[in-house]
């Protein structure tokens, strides 16, 4: 009975087919406000036009992650061909096709940073950088501030004081995942520039949050809460609400990744905003905390592996496909330009000057679930915990999961 149920589920699932008309490639995609279902269909229609007989079918993930969607499909014996938004780890690498023998892959962004045991399982379209502080030009002018002079955390804190005195909410935050992510965008730039191997060492059981460079950043953050530079009520905002509040001029600064630029462009606010690289307690400019954008993997159990590899090659090397994907989500890639707003151009300049892009992958990938725990501990700073408590909490959690 169970095999029967499974077989009918597979049949209903419409597995990859080699129909008489051609090949259907099933691709798991990520749907966001910037990357809509229509966007992907329009993009992939170009591939279908250039490759008659190939049909690209979107596999939507709904409320689950791409990882979970792939797990479901594999468990049902119905593997898709390609997936976006999955970054293989040493444990999961065998599920994906080793693309190391593809000569075109070497020129794709962050290819070497994402290797596992020297092998390439994932290939990206561009880079997202995230150690950025967007600011309202009007607020800075009113507070008499020059963004180019904010390079240290003390200067950043002083600027927040000036902005508060000028009548602005200094720094915009929000609830959901935003709180922890903003802290990560800030602290990782400083800590990982000073020691790019920090996370890899922590994974090996060396060091702790309580005795690391993260503690001073927790202290800065707590200090801002205590001084009212960050508002506790922000925890009751959604990501979209927080972003809208900043775009509407209710706050002066907003820590966010380069993917904020398309939102600012869409709101026609790009010319009113500026951006500077994250101040740190160490080197300036610091490395940019970042990641591969639009990561593609070819599923090892794909029934059309050769076609899937050809498709991924197109998605990550075709100039028009690249430009479209870069522009849609505010991503960047050396040697490629697309019509950018003044804000987008400023972000590109920051990337050009950054000494490195700090990537958390492979051995430097934090333990699974860490971002949720970090979010919880950073939010606890708003609700009474001390920086030492938060650092201890992170250590206790990490140790318990290892």
């Amino acid at each position: 009975m169970a095999p029967l149920v499974m077989a009918s589920a597979v049949a209903c699932g419409g597995g990859s087919d080699q129909a008489s008309e051609g090949t259907t490639l099933r691709v798991i995609v990520n749907i966001t406000p910037n990357l809509t279902e229509k966007y992907w269909n329009d993009l992939f229609a170009n591939y279908e036009k250039a490759n008659p007989g190939v049909h690209v079918k979107l596999e939507l993930t709904g409320t689950i992650s791409a990882d979970a969607k792939l797990r479901q499909d594999l468990a049902a014996g119905d593997p898709p061909d390609v997936s976006l938004q999955i970054v293989p780890t040493a444990d999961t690498a065998s599920l994906f096709t080793d693309l190391s023998d593809q000569p075109w892959l070497a020129k794709t962004p962050l290819a070497d940073q994402y290797t596992i045991d020297g092998k390439h399982y994932v290939v990206g379209v561009g880079e997202q950088i995230q150690s950025l502080v967007f600011y309202s030009k009007a607020a800075f002018e009113k507070a008499g501030l020059d963004a180019s002079k904010i390079q240290t955390m003390d200067q950043f804190t002083a600027a927040m004081g000036d902005l508060k005195d000028a009548g602005y909410k200094p720094l915009q935050s929000a609830g959901q995942w935003v709180t922890g992510s903003q802290f990560s965008m800030m602290a990782d730039a400083g800590v990982l520039t000073a020691d790019p191997e920090w996370t890899a060492k922590r994974n090996k059981g060396e060091g702790s949050f309580a005795k690391s460079g993260y503690l001073p950043y927790l202290q800065h953050y707590k200090n801002w809460i205590d001084k009212g530079y960050l508002e506790k009520s922000a925890l009751g905002l959604t990501y979209a609400d927080g972003q809208t509040a900043f775009l509407n001029g209710k706050s002066a600064m907003y820590i966010m990744g380069s993917f904020f630029v398309p939102a600012a462009d869409a709101a026609k606010k790009s010319d009113d905003l500026g951006v500077f690289t994250m101040p740190t307690d160490g080197a300036h400019p610091s490395g940019q905390f970042g990641n591969m954008s639009n990561p593609y993997v070819v599923v090892n159990k794909s029934h059309h592996k050769a076609e899937a590899i050809k498709f991924v090659k197109w998605a990550t090397t075709d100039p028009e496909a690249i430009k479209s994907q870069l522009a849609s989500d505010g991503n960047l890639r050396e040697g490629f330009t697309y019509p950018m707003s003044s804000l987008g151009t400023s972000v590109q300049q920051i990337l050009d000057k950054a000494p490195s892009v700090l990537v958390q992958s492979g051995d430097s990938k934090p333990i699974a679930g860490f971002s949720d725990e970090l979010n919880k501990q950073i939010q606890s700073l708003y609700t009474g915990s001390s920086p030492a408590d938060a650092a201890d909490g992170l250590d206790k959690w990490w140790n318990s999961q290892s």
Partner: protein, 308 residues
């Protein structure tokens, strides 16, 4: 003659046995599909889940047997203990409020009239809508930029921390859960109230019992089996609270509304710790079963004490 009677009795016995066998075969034949379906759809998945809970399966690669490691981890994982505290609080307070309010509401609306039907429908209405949508709806009302705080802001009043203050967020979550779910109890209790014999109530009234005495001494004891069922259903349901948590608070702030089911689905499964997540789920199933049995046993003991 005696021999003939014995032979007849023997034949009768045999035909009775054959009839019983035929009956059993027919019964089994009729039950067969249901038993098979139940086994395939429930028993096998639960069995597989129990097996996976003893492995370190990540959902991708081959599972390897790790004995009781996942269950030991349940007790040294700080996230698990925090989530259990929140879950226990929601289940205990929520059940008391949902059953209590449902009972009071049902008693107030036990008569048959148009207005009573309307108010019963009003109470039941939230139960019809997806809990996920109700959560989003209330988030739009209670959030920092929500309807209430926006109105307060117009009068220069600071936002109330319905969703951003730890204690307030938990209270808000419980309040929304109770609001969304107590209508189900109302329907159960109203149905039960209609089974209470009218003559009994009339007799009590003639004997001079007040409305309060009638309700406390006659009506509630008579519908107590339904109250027990409602208590068990609410308790087990609230232990699995997830949908409203996701859409209303997302487990925040600072994990203050993170329930155990939220932890399993949002963190353990998403973090590809399928073996551990399954152990958490099995643990949840066992706790739910124990609680349900406990409530029923307590109720039975109370009933026996009342009748003896």
């Amino acid at each position: 003659m005696v021999e003939l009677a014995k032979l007849n009795a023997g034949l009768n016995d045999r035909s009775r046995r054959q009839a019983r066998l035929r009956e059993s075969a027919v019964s089994l034949g009729m039950m067969g599909p249901a038993v098979l379906l139940y086994t395939v759809m429930t028993v096998v998945p639960v069995g597989v889940a129990v097996y996976l809970s003893f492995t370190d399966w990540d959902g991708f690669s081959t599972a390897s047997f790790t004995g009781l490691d996942n269950y030991k981890h349940l007790f040294d994982d700080p996230s698990s203990s925090d989530a259990w505290y929140v879950t226990a609080l929601i289940a205990a307070v929520g059940t008391v409020l949902m059953v209590g309010l449902g009972l009071v509401y049902a008693l107030a609306l036990k008569g048959r009239s148009r207005s009573n039907s309307f108010f019963r429908a009003v109470a039941y209405f939230p139960h019809v809508i997806s809990a996920l949508i109700l959560g989003y709806l209330w988030a739009a009302i209670l959030g920092t930029n929500g309807a209430i705080n926006n109105t307060l802001a117009k009068f220069g009043i600071e936002p109330v921390g319905f969703l951003f203050d730890e204690q307030f967020a938990l209270i808000s979550l419980i309040a929304v859960i109770v609001w969304a779910g107590f209508g189900f109890n109302v329907v159960l209790f109203v149905a039960a109230l209609q089974t209470v014999p009218a003559e009994l109530l009339e007799a009590a009234a003639i004997d001079g019992a007040s409305k309060r005495q009638i309700n406390l001494r006659i009506v509630i004891p008579m519908i107590s089996p339904v109250v027990t069922v409602a208590t068990v259903l609410n308790l087990v349901g609230l232990i699995r609270a997830y949908d409203i948590v996701v859409s209303l608070t997302g487990g925040g702030p600072a994990g203050s509304t993170q329930t155990f089911t939220y932890l399993i689905l949002a963190r353990s499964f998403e973090g590809t710790k399928v073996g551990y997540a399954t152990a958490q789920a099995v643990f949840l199933m066992v706790v739910s079963a124990v609680l349900a049995l406990l409530v029923t046993a307590l109720r039975n003991r109370q009933d026996q004490a009342a009748t003896s």
